[in-house]
Amino acid sequence: MNSDSKHKARIGVFKFASCDGCQLSLLDAEDELLGVAGAVDIAYFPEASRAMLKGPYDIGLVEGSITTHADAQRIQEVRRQCKTLITIGACATAGGIQALRNWKDVDEFIRVVYATPQFISTLKLSTPIAEHVPVDFELRGCPINKYQLLELITATLAGRKPNIPSYSVCIECKRKANVCIAVARGIPCLGPVTQAGCGALCPSYDRGCYGCYGPMETPNTSALASQLRVLGQADSQVARAFRSFNAWAWQFRKASEECERT
C-alpha cells in the first residue's frame, strides 16, 4: 500500500481456509490503522488493496488452515518469502472449526454439501500452518484480539518478546472481579483450560467460556472434564465442548477423544 517507503518493515497478509475475520481485525483497529499504515509498508493485503507487491516480506501474517493440495504448496512459498511468519487465529494455529472433518469421512461431507462431488478437491484433514512450515509466533483466538495483534507487530518490529500471556481465562475473570459462573451458578465453563486474551468475555456475559482461544499452557483437561460431569454434563457433551474452534489443538483433541472412549 505504500510503495515510496524504503526502510519500513514490509508486511504481507495471507489467507488460507478461514472466515476473513482475523485479518479484518487489522481493519477494525480504526484508531490505529492509519498509524500502523504509516509505520510499516503493508505490501500485500488483498482483502484491503489491489496493489499486491511481491516479497520478500519482513513479517507475514497468515490466516486460515491448510485444506487443499494447492494451499499445502502455497504455504511453502509464503514461508520462503517471510522473514518472520506469524499465524493469526484458531484456523491457522489449530485447524479451525473446519477441522471437525478430521474425525469424519470427508467424502461424505462433500456429498452432504455438493451435488457433484467430483468437482471438489480437498484434503482429508484441516491442519494448522505449523504442521507444514516452521512458525515464529502463533496468535490465538477465534477471532484474535486486535490489541494483541498490534502488540505482536510492535514487539516483532522492536525485536522484543511480545507481551501475550499464556495463562487461563480464569485469571482474566479474577482481574475483572467476575463471580465464577461455574462455581456459583454451575454453568459449564472451559475457562480453566483456555488461554486468556478475550478479556473473559463469555463469563462476563453470563455464559460459560467455549474455548475459542484454544488450550492454555499445560491445561489440566481431565480435571476439568471430571468437573463438567459433576455439573451434569454427559460424556458426549464434554467431548463436544472440547471439539469446536480449536478441536485439533492436541490438548483439546486428546481431551475429546478420551471422553469418547469412556
Binding site: 481456509a17 476473513d20 490503522l33 472449526i97 473446519q98 463469555c202
Partner: protein, 434 residues
C-alpha cells in the same frame, strides 16, 4: 497480444473482496464468449459438521462462516431454530436484535463504501493510498465504522464473532443507560451518513442498467432486517418456509460456491439495491429525502449506484438505532427458554449483502439432524456473471488494464463475500479474433 491465437492475459487476484476467486472472460472479436466467476475458496463443509451438534451451538458455529457479517449468521440461525421450536421472543429482544443488525450494517457498509469500493471510483489501489489525498474522508470512514462496531461490541461482547446472541434472546441484555451512551456517537454518525450519501452521489457512474429480478424481505411496517416475507419485483411473495420451493442451487464445475437461481427464471439480485427498490416506502422520511436528493428513485437499475444505496442504508441504520435506543426498556429475562421437539425451522434475514437463508431439522434432544445455509453471495454469483457478460461487451475496445479494473469494480458493486459463499479473484481475459 494480437493475431489469431487466443489471448490470455492474467491480472493476479481481484482484491478488496472477502474471499478467494478468479474471473475468466473470453472475448471472440466483439463478442463475449464466456464468463466464469471462479470461486476457489476452499470448501469448509459447515452444513455437514452442524449435524450432530446441539441447536444452541448453531449461532456460534455459523458465525464462523464469515468474519464480516457474523451477526447475520447468528440471526438467521436463532430465528430458524426459534421457528422450529415455536419460541416467542420478547419485544425488547426483538428491538435489540434490530439494533445489533444496525451495528453490523453500519460497520460493514462503511467498510465497503469507503475502504473497498470508493478507491475504484477515485483511482486508488486502497483506502490507505486514498488517505494520502483524502485524509479527512478516510478518517471519517474509520470513525463511522467504529460507531457500528461499538453497537456490536456492546450487545455481543466483540466485533467479530460476538458471543451473546442465543436462541430465545441474548445471554445478557444491556441496561438502558448503556444504550443511551451510544446516542451521541449515533447522532454524529447520522450526520456523517447523510454526508456519505452526498459524497457517493457525486462519483462517476458508468451508464449500465439491467433488467434485474430484485429479491428481498418485505415487512408491512418496517425496513427489513430480521423478519418479513420474501418478495421480488416479478411477483414473488412467499413465506420464508417456502424458499426452497422457489429457489434452487446448482453446482457448477468452476466454483466451490453453489449458484442459486429462481426456479423457472434464472439469476436474481439480492442486497442493498434489492432492499431499497422493494422497500423504499418503508425508509424513514429523512432517509428517503437523502436518497431523492442524491437522484435515487426506485427502481434503481444501475448496479454501480449500489454504493449510494449503501450510504442511504447507513442513514436508515443510524435513524433506526436511535429510535431503538429511545424505545428500549430492558426485559425481565434476557432470553426465553426453548423446549425440545422434533421439528424443522427456516429463517431469512437481511445480511449487509442480502438475504441469508438457514434451515435446521432438529431431533427430540435438540440435536441438529440436517442444516442448509444459502448465503447472499452464492445467490448473487450467477447475477454477477450475467452482469459481466453485458458489461464486458461495452469494454471490448478498452485497453486491457483499464477494462480489467472496470470488471473488478463491477464485481465489487455486489460486495461479494466469497468466504461466505464457500476468496481473491484472478482475472483472465481470453481474446480471440472473431
Amino acid at each position: 497480444m494480437t493475431g489469431r491465437a487466443s489471448k490470455t492475459i492474467r491480472v493476479d487476484t481481484l482484491a478488496r473482496v472477502e474471499g478467494e476467486g478468479s474471473l475468466y472472460i473470453k472475448l471472440v472479436g466483439e463478442r463475449v464468449a464466456d464468463v466464469k466467476l471462479k470461486i476457489y475458496e476452499p470448501p469448509r463443509f459447515f452444513e455437514a459438521f452442524l449435524r450432530g451438534r446441539h441447536y444452541s451451538e448453531a449461532p456460534d458455529i455459523t458465525s464462523r462462516i464469515c468474519g464480516i457479517c457474523p451477526i447475520a449468521y447468528q440471526m438467521s440461525a436463532v430465528h430458524a431454530i426459534e421457528r422450529a421450536l415455536s419460541v416467542q421472543i420478547t419485544p425488547a429482544v426483538r428491538l435489540l436484535r434490530r439494533l445489533f443488525f444496525c451495528g453490523e450494517w453500519i460497520e460493514s457498509h462503511t467498510l465497503h463504501v469507503y475502504m473497498l469500493h470508493a478507491p475504484d471510483f477515485l483511482g486508488y489501489p486502497d483506502a490507505i493510498a486514498m488517505a494520502k489525498d483524502h485524509r479527512a474522508v478516510v478518517e471519517k470512514a474509520l470513525r463511522l465504522k467504529k460507531v457500528g462496531n461499538r453497537i456490536v461490541q456492546l450487545l455481543g461482547g466483540r466485533e467479530i464473532h460476538p458471543i451473546s446472541a442465543a436462541v430465545g434472546g441474548f445471554y445478557k441484555t444491556p441496561s438502558k443507560q448503556q444504550l443511551c451512551d451510544l446516542a451521541a456517537d449515533l447522532e454524529w454518525a447520522l450526520e456523517a451518513s447523510v454526508e456519505t450519501v452526498k459524497w457517493t452521489a457525486g462519483l462517476d457512474f458508468p451508464n449500465f442498467e439491467q433488467d434485474y429480478e430484485f429479491v428481498a424481505l418485505r415487512h408491512p411496517d418496517e425496513y427489513p432486517l430480521n423478519e418479513g416475507r420474501l418478495a421480488s419485483n416479478r411477483g414473488l411473495d412467499i413465506d420464508t418456509a417456502e424458499y426452497e420451493d422457489h429457489f434452487m442451487e446448482l453446482h457448477v464445475k468452476h466454483s466451490n460456491a453453489l449458484h442459486s437461481v429462481v426456479r423457472g427464471r434464472g439469476s436474481y439480485f439480492v442486497g442493498p439495491l434489492a432492499r431499497f427498490n422493494l422497500n423504499f416506502d418503508k425508509l424513514p422520511e429523512s432517509a428517503r429525502r437523502a436518497a431523492i436528493d442524491a437522484g435515487l428513485r426506485p427502481p434503481v437499475k444501475n448496479v454501480f449506484r449500489s454504493i449510494v444505496v449503501r450510504a442511504v442504508e447507513l442513514v436508515f441504520a443510524c435513524i433506526e438505532a436511535l429510535r431503538i435506543i429511545r424505545e428500549y426498556e430492558p426485559p425481565v429475562a434476557s432470553r426465553v427458554e426453548a423446549r425440545n421437539r422434533i421439528a424443522v425451522g427456516q429463517a431469512i434475514t437481511e445480511a449487509p449483502r442480502g438475504v441469508l437463508y438457514h434451515r435446521y431439522a432438529l431431533d427430540e434432544d435438540g440435536m441438529i439432524l440436517t442444516a442448509k445455509i444459502v448465503p447472499p453471495t452464492s445467490q448473487n454469483q450467477k447475477r454477477i456473471e450475467d452482469d459481466l457478460r453485458e458489461y464486458a461487451a461495452q469494454l471490448v475496445a478498452w485497453p486491457l488494464e483499464e477494462a480489467t479494473w472496470k470488471c473488478e469494480q463491477a464485481i465489487r458493486c455486489y460486495d461479494p463475500c466469497i468466504s461466505c459463499a464457500t476468496h481473491f479473484l484472478k482475472l483472465v481475459v481470453d481474446r480471440e479474433k472473431g
